[in-house]
Amino acid sequence: MLDIKKIRNFSIIAHIDHGKSTLADRLIQSTNTVAERDMKEQILDSMDIERERGITIKANTVRLTYTDSKNEEYILNLIDTPGHVDFAYEVSRSMHAVEGSLLVVDASQGVEAQTLANVYTAIEADHEIIPILNKIDLPAADVARVKTQIEDVIGIDASEAINISAKTGEGISKVFEEIVSKLPCPEGSSKSPLKASLVDSWYDAYLGVVVLVRIHDGILQKGDKIKLMQTNANYSVDKLAVLKPDMVDINQLGPGEIGVFTASIKQVRDTRVGDTITHLHKGCTEPLEGYEPSQPVVFCGLFPVDSSEFEALREAIDKLAVNDSSFSYEMESSAALGFGFRCGFLGLLHLEVIRDRIEREYNINLITTAPSVIYQVSKTDNEILEIHNPADLPEAVKINHIKEPRIKATILVPDNFLGEVLKLCQDRRGIQLDLTYVGSRAMVVYDLPLNEVVFDFYDRLKSVTKGYASFDYEISKYVQDNLVKMQILVNDEPVDALSIIVHRDRAEMRGRSMCEKLKELIPQHLFKIPIQASLGGRIIARETISALRKDVTAKCYGGDITRKRKLLDKQKAGKKRMRQFGRVEIPQEAFINALKIKE
């Protein structure tokens, strides 16, 4: 049995790209957890999409064995978390499994919006926080300034912050020392009945559903009969392991430990994050305090391009949902697109990631319809509907009013870009709530409609501030406004998958922008294609895609043919991703990209 006093559990938190995963690499490397030859950068970012985009999407746990200078051995469980807003939920649930957080701040950038948001979550979770200033190898690193900033903005003591470079390894030994000396050990009793929390679960092609647990009390052993308290489902544990980061089998897990098990779980819906796991017999009676799964805020339809792949899509979505409790779905059917699913996400990046994973890991081509937030529609007969599909909107005469969700957005930005940021927020129907300064950085708080933020606000913000602003938000309230449904007609036929709900005052601008975008996104055909935006039958914007008049390669000799074939292969792949609407073929990317506003 492990001595609980020799266990330390912590998460690594930071703003996006401040170096969490790189720090995890160094901790893994210094403890020889992974053989040198198997080591690679951001080793925990194991999904293709994570490696491609260079960001962490899923929180990842690793168990390290650390020996200190007095030759004492400690078990450290670290959880590397994602930095992007859309995955904030991964951070908060990880925090429930551990007692402390390493707060990483890029010393060349300073405190950013997710630094703040994550620190607050850590404080709420009663975490001991160790501030770490990273990237001190960079010439732009300004340790003194960033320390003051941490104290001024976050209000935590940064005088003892550790200065490190996760890249070169400088300062890492100090990180270990403080993990051991400053973080509390977990609490719990091996004598009490088993009480474990379900931290995460995912689908593994070989093992089926894998469950990540944190033991609070009692002991979990291989072969144990267990019960998931919320769902009352029973299983017996087939395999018990710790993550290093690959699974290494273990016989038992005691209080304070984190590990995974499999138990031939078929019902993926049985594994609810936050649930309490105990023994079937002589189990605990009081579950741990659960935590609310975060609610999806952006919805869209996912349809297979090839309608015969509907069942395959269902299976893929089922499996992904195990891995991602913040993703919701239900079946949907559409006249133009056939059967598919209406899915809910935490944000647009989350949506793109799930879509990419379905396409890649399950090899299904998808059409994604225009994303929407949830509107509350009050009908004239007093019925209230929650609508996130413009196609479900009742006739205009039956609508009394529509409410939309608004958010409280916090933006940190260097003073010289403040004007741009204010303008952007103002253009998106924002109401300024607060504006304060931290040195030369402004912190603005805005009340904004979620539907103006969901699609491309973050991209725009990055581009108008050259990447210097950071942004975080939380949903605040529903507010009534002048909202209408806008339809898009392609070659004179309405395309439902492109219709959106929009503010009356913004309709013309959005309509124009969508028509312009679609003009770029839809390939030329042999005939002219009008693209129009309409509000209740009235055309408010129009573009025309001219007919294809010339398309021939001038030179094609022995060496050119290879290139020409590659082009053809690309076109073939592209064709697979097109959907026919009337006489027009629309590429599937068009549905989302059309919404990204040109400004």
Binding site: S546, R549, K550, D551, V552, G558, L568, Q571, K575
Partner: protein, 379 residues
């Protein structure tokens, strides 16, 4: 395999033209003797693979092969003759740039065995030659053509049209003039803005001004075909025009998916061996290519057995470029494939193609949309 074409790639130029994405490089000094040895080594190694091939055509392409010393060309040809048998009416072409230095070598090339010259005129308008970044002027271009005509039994020259600020009328006049020179052959390429060229970069920044719109581009293409046709230059391929029976045999072999060996940096090859078709590509970088050749190795990068589908698609992509069209019965016999009847009917209805005695021909109205048609037929 008995009939074969040989392509030799000379990868060097005096300067890099802003529109050019060929494998061409500017080097201060090129030791031509070393290169000769490099080519010869590759030739010898290929010989060990094929028994008794007969060479139908040889093509010196580039880059600027007219920078080669005539004795190098001559030694190279000698080297080839040592191992391969030569067909009686062999065609041996060389691409030449029309600078005065190069014109002086024409006679020696002819003595070395070159019997067809292809001159990179590009334009007869000085202002446009400057826009194209060429080193020669129109006078040199004209004298290259005239001198070349007296020396070689077969002369072709290249023009690029659809240039910046070029009107339909400008081009018609220039083309009429080109035709009046009565060369055996003309290659008339519509300017293509390629990625990774200076033009490509300017274009992406929106700084390449005065290019024709699609509509003008279409008219330029149509007019080019019409004018050439009415003056006896048969548009036998998308960008190639020839007086009666003066088609470039070497290039026709590409379009008919024949066998060809490519030798030199970046050169491609295709050949049939034991009923299987192979494709390969030489190492692109000149120095790496040469080094590898010196190590008694074939300086190739990728060589692979082509799938039947790859072979079929090449057969179609290339074959449709020729005015004589594609034999549907041969296609069915060799590849077991037929085109989708609905798509064929639609293309016929649109006046893009015609099918007569099992030969599919792309008509002029279709040629200008050839990529579209190919895509329809193959996807």
């Amino acid at each position: 395999m008995n009939n074969i074409s040989i392509y030799l790639h000379w990868p060097f130029c005096e300067s890099k033209c802003p529109y050019c994405d060929f494998n061409s490089h500017v080097r201060e000094k090129v030791v031509q003797e070393d290169w000769l040895q490099g080519y010869l080594k590759n030739i010898r190694l290929w010989v060990s693979i094929f028994q008794n091939p007969k060479i139908k055509t040889i093509y010196f392409g580039g880059g600027t092969p007219s920078l080669m010393e005539p004795n190098i060309v001559s030694d190279l040809l000698e080297g080839l003759y040592k191992y391969y048998s030569i067909s009686n009416n062999i065609e041996i072409s060389l691409e030449a740039n029309p600078s005065s230095v190069e014109i002086k070598k024409f006679r020696d090339y002819a003595s070395a065995g070159i019997n067809r010259i292809s001159i990179g005129v590009q334009s007869f308008v000085d202002k446009d030659l400057r826009l194209l970044g060429r080193r020669h002027n129109s006078k040199e271009a004209l004298s290259a053509v005239e001198i070349g005509k007296n020396i070689f039994e077969n002369l072709s020259f290249d023009l690029i049209y659809g240039r910046q600020f070029q009107s339909l009328l400008d081009w018609e006049k220039e083309l009429q003039f080109a035709i009046s020179l009565r060369s055996q052959h003309l290659s008339l390429y519509q300017l293509t803005v390629e990625n990774n060229t200076a033009f490509g970069k300017l274009f992406d920044k929106g700084k390449l001004k005065g290019l024709p719109c699609d509509e003008l581009s279409r008219k330029l293409f149509m007019t080019t075909n019409d004018i050439c046709y009415s003056h006896g230059y048969k548009p036998y391929e998308i960008s190639n025009f020839a007086l009666d029976k003066q088609e470039c045999k070497h290039n026709v072999n590409y379009w008919k998916c024949g066998n060809f060996l490519g030798i030199g940096p970046g050169a491609h090859g295709r050949y049939q061996f034991n009923q299987k078709r192979f494709s390969y590509e030489n190492i692109k970088n000149p120095e790496t290519w040469l080094n590898k050749s010196f190590n008694e190795d074939l300086a190739i990068n990728i060589k692979k057995r082509m799938s039947d589908l790859d072979h079929f698609e090449e057969f179609v992509i290339m074959g449709l470029r020729l005015s004589e069209g594609l034999s549907l019965s041969k296609m069915h016999k060799n590849f077991g494939k037929r085109f989708d009847e609905k798509i064929l009917q639609e293309l016929i209805r649109l006046g893009f193609i015609e099918i007569a005695s099992n030969q599919l021909k792309v008509l002029q109205k279709g040629k200008v949309l050839l990529n579209y048609i190919t895509k329809q037929l193959l996807t």
